[in-house]
């Protein structure tokens, strides 16, 4: 039940986040912004950092729980492997996503 609530809650949270993210893509490509111009706008921005970090957390939680259901239905694996897969995939998404957020908000800090 808790996993269901978490998955549906993060889905609801991501609806506006995805809309803003898509609007941003349309704006950036429509105005022909280069990667360096985009990074110049996001560098040091706590607001964009928070926005995308929340997005990353929500996506990691949502995707990991969803993958657990897919694994249960299609791979017919038991509860423990399901949970292991969920945590592994979720942490992986969280790590990659957080790394991307740091790279966008603090360019150069990871190199």
């Amino acid at each position: 039940m808790r996993l269901y609530i978490l998955q549906r809650g993060t889905a609801a949270l991501m609806v506006p986040l995805i809309a803003i993210h898509l609007a941003l893509i349309v704006y950036a490509t429509g105005n022909g912004l280069t990667a360096s111009e985009i990074l110049a706008r996001t560098r040091g921005s706590i607001a964009w950092g928070l926005f995308y970090q929340v997005f990353v957390i929500a996506a990691a939680v949502h995707g990991a729980i969803g993958l657990r259901s897919v694994a249960r239905d299609w791979l017919r694996i038991g509860p423990r492997p399901q949970t292991g897969l969920m945590w592994g995939f979720g942490l992986l998404l969280l790590a990659f996503g957080t790394r991307a957020v740091i790279a966008v908000v603090f360019p150069g800090s990871l190199s």
């Binding site: 039940m1 808790r2 269901y4 609530i5 259901s69 249960r72 239905d73 299609w74 017919r76």
Partner: protein, 243 residues
Amino acid sequence: MSNTAKHLSVSVWRGFADGHYQTFEVPRQDNQTVLDVVTWIQRNTEPSLAYRFACRVGVCGSCAMTVNGRPRWTCRTHISKVVDQDGKLELAPLANLPPIKDLVADMRPFFDKWEKAEGKFHPSKTRVDPMATISPETTKRQAADKAIECINCGVCYAACDSVRWNPAYLGPAALNRAWTLANDERDAGGPQRLKAVSANGGCHSCHSHQSCEQHCPIGLNPTESIAGLKRLTVDAYIRGELS
């Protein structure tokens, strides 16, 4: 052979889970249901053929089988609706249930899950209390009425992808029944029913593919009922009544 051929070529599942298809030639008639075809085979060609039926008019729900890969009531399925250009017909027992013999599936898992979903009525009054007055106008009663005509034929259960993938899943019919009782003002089993349908294999295992609605012979929509149960369980969780 055209769709109006004089004979049908009917492949019928014989034996148990490891059985095989046996083909029978059956005379075609103008007005003929799939159940008529099966009955003709048993009476004229293969007396040992096992199949299940009772009312023959779409009331009892016992004659459901897999007809050309799709679960159907055989008594209410006219041959012209299902036979292909070659006059071929393929019959098997309902899917997602253990086969017993030939066209008979074991319905016990279906009804066990029906009970597991708290599909039984929990009375809130005794026989000495006055009869409850139920207004047909209330939202809850209308929700119950919309789903209540299920006769437990198992067609939705056989059509459900989630049942096929997840053996613990209670299935559309059991959850549809739970939804009707959740909306029954006279029922006192609400809390334990919500617990039952939110446990592993409960309503949250439904992926809303809507095969149940697509295949239900009387046009019920168990997916809608299951969505209602999901809402009730979320409300109960927020109120702290479910963990």
